[in-house]
């Protein structure tokens, strides 16, 4: 039985003995079957949910409106008075978008592909780097970490022109690499910081015990540190993937002009026609484009939770 279940049961038993018997029948946030610290008055619960609703509505409103737009026929979008609720709503836009922009599938794949490669590169680089920064004392470690922070203060946009010249010199313009290399470069510093902090929480004695038992540094990293740092690594991977997805726009816009390499954010421009913007299909394409990210996150989150419970470092 879980601790939570046990403690609620104990609380329930207490209330049966001391409080009036009808208290145990009620359930919910204010119920007597909860431990004292988790009990709330009904109006406190109402206020909590109201607060939650306001916050969520604020965050999700654009998505809700976007989704509603994707269901409406184009004509209805420009009607006055504007109606938020679609009349004769349909999923036609989700079907038509594939024909009005034939490369859409390719764009979605590109987005996914670029983010995946960036994530793989970042994780491969960040794990050993974070271990080194967490465990070794070497000259310039502090300086480099400070440098990483400094790099993070520049957004990619400030450095576009130098980056462009660099890409041109290296012949990377109009390739996938033009979007992958700067994408990875800008995401590595913050990930090193994040994972370094995580690894510093793994007791140094584990490294020492392994060293006493004859393990090399690399063996220790592989067999001891990596499994224990897995939750941290998953967080880095998720953040990198999302970051890579979000920052593609600017690099793709500047360093790439080939339609077949374009990721989704640029690909969406194809819905901007000469006469009009096909808003409903644009929104539909956006939602379908986000889908892979959603799937990846849901998939990785399972590992995140599993890792957190299995890797209890505390002795």
């Amino acid at each position: 039985m879980s601790d939570v279940a046990r403690s609620t049961e104990v609380a329930a038993a207490d209330s049966k003995a001391s409080v009036k018997p009808q208290a145990k029948a009620r359930r919910g946030l204010w119920s007597a079957s909860r431990p004292m610290i988790d009990r709330y008055k009904w109006y406190e619960v109402a206020a909590l949910y109201a607060g939650l609703f306001v916050f969520l509505f604020f965050v999700l409103a654009p998505f809700i409106e976007g989704f509603l737009v994707s269901l409406k026929p184009l004509a209805q979008l420009f009607s006055t008075p504007y109606s938020f609720i679609p009349e004769n709503g349909s999923f036609d836009a989700y079907i038509n978008m594939w024909t009005s922009v034939p490369m859409l599938g390719m764009h979605i794949f590109n987005s996914f592909f670029i983010s995946t490669v960036v994530t793989l590169i970042v994780v491969a680089v960040v794990v050993p780097a974070a271990y080194a920064f967490a465990r070794f004392n070497f000259a310039g470690a502090g300086l480099m970490l400070a440098g990483f922070l400094a790099v993070n203060m520049f957004s990619g946009a400030v450095l576009l022109i130098p980056l462009f010249r660099l890409m041109r010199t290296m012949g990377l313009l109009n390739t996938y690499w033009a979007m992958i290399v700067p994408g990875a470069a800008f995401l590595i510093p913050s990930s090193v910081w994040l994972l370094r902090t995580y690894m510093m929480r793994i007791p140094r004695e584990l490294d020492e015990a392994a060293w006493v038992d004859g393990a090399s540094r690399l063996y220790t990293l592989r067999r001891v540190i990596l499994p224990l740092a897995m939750p941290g690594i998953v967080v880095v991977a998720i953040m990198t993937f999302i970051g890579a997805y979000a920052q593609q726009f600017i690099f793709a816009l500047t360093f790439n002009s080939k339609t077949e390499f374009m990721p989704l954010p640029i690909g969406l421009f194809a819905f901007f026609g000469k006469q009009e913007v096909v808003w409903n299909e644009l929104m539909a394409a956006s939602f379908v484009g986000i889908l892979p990210v959603m799937i990846v996150i849901v998939f990785l989150q399972r590992y995140l939770v599993a890792g957190l419970t299995a890797g209890a470092v505390k002795q």
């Binding site: 007791p203 004695e205 020492e208 015990a209 392994a210 006493v212 038992d213 004859g214 299995a310 470092v313």
Partner: protein, 358 residues
Amino acid sequence: MSQLSLKRLEKSFNEARIIKGIDLDVSEGEFVVFVGPSGCGKSTLLRMIAGLEDVSAGEIEIGGNIVNELPPVQRGIAMVFQSYALYPHMTVYENIAFPLRVEKLPQAEVDSRVQAAARVLQLESRLQHRPGQLSGGQRQRVAIGRAIVRQPKIFLFDEPLSNLDAALRSEMRIELMELHKRLGSTMIYVTHDQIEAMTMADKIVVLNAGEIAQIGSPLELYHKPDNLFVAGFIGSPKMNFINGKVRAADGSNVTVDLGKLGTISLPRTSRDVAGQDVTLGIRPEHLSLDGGQFVIEITPNIVEHLGIHTIGYAILPGGENFIGLFEGNPDLEDGKPMKVGFDIDQAHLFDSRGLAVY
């Protein structure tokens, strides 16, 4: 021949000298305990022997070879850490097998050694569990198991029992002593707990501020402390110290003026202490309520009744704290003056440098 010997061993971190020249010989099969207050360098010394800290000066010799530059695994040592340092993501089996996996031994060999260690430590039913599911004592045994499978020449223990509660600690103490008997290997054990030191050690090394204060068997340290530090450190409750001044030292007796407590004459041959400020030491358990060769009057301000013992705390006229420990349940009361006495040959005398006067 000694199995481990330290020669003028020193360790400095930047400017700070942590270990200030240690000489020590440990013979095969000995159970040696490093004991001292926190910050005395005992853990650092152990880590130097293990190969986790490098040596600033001096030599570490194991089995006749200088091992200063060798990594731990080539020194033939195994270490048990204070926090056990178990790998939380591995089963007990894999934890114990870890050193063998590093050596890349064949699975059959790994299995037989792990099973043997598990049998010795009564962990057979726990092999498929993870450390998180074990109690403190079992985790401790897993950590020991990981040390045993390597079949090292020397075991190093860094305060292995300090994370356990009192009952478990005394249980594990017995288990460790039995293990030492069964394996017959050399063990070096670091602790700040003098009970552990007194009960387990063949030889105690008392460390103070990076230097050896005294080396000896538990009873030697108890009966013949070389200096004030050892006298105060070994024994619980702590030895009472009374400040005094030597009136006369005639080669057979030393007469010490204890101020308001009177004058005491101790059989000591030293003449050098004449006129010095000295410290008289008497253990609380050597005091008695019915007379003695030297009697003083104290007024306890706190009395503790423990059933088996009764402990009275008082402050002497000179301002020193004074503790008396008496058998059974005598009639002591806060604020009620009482006479306590001791025999002259139970008293210790230390000169102005804190060294024992003989």
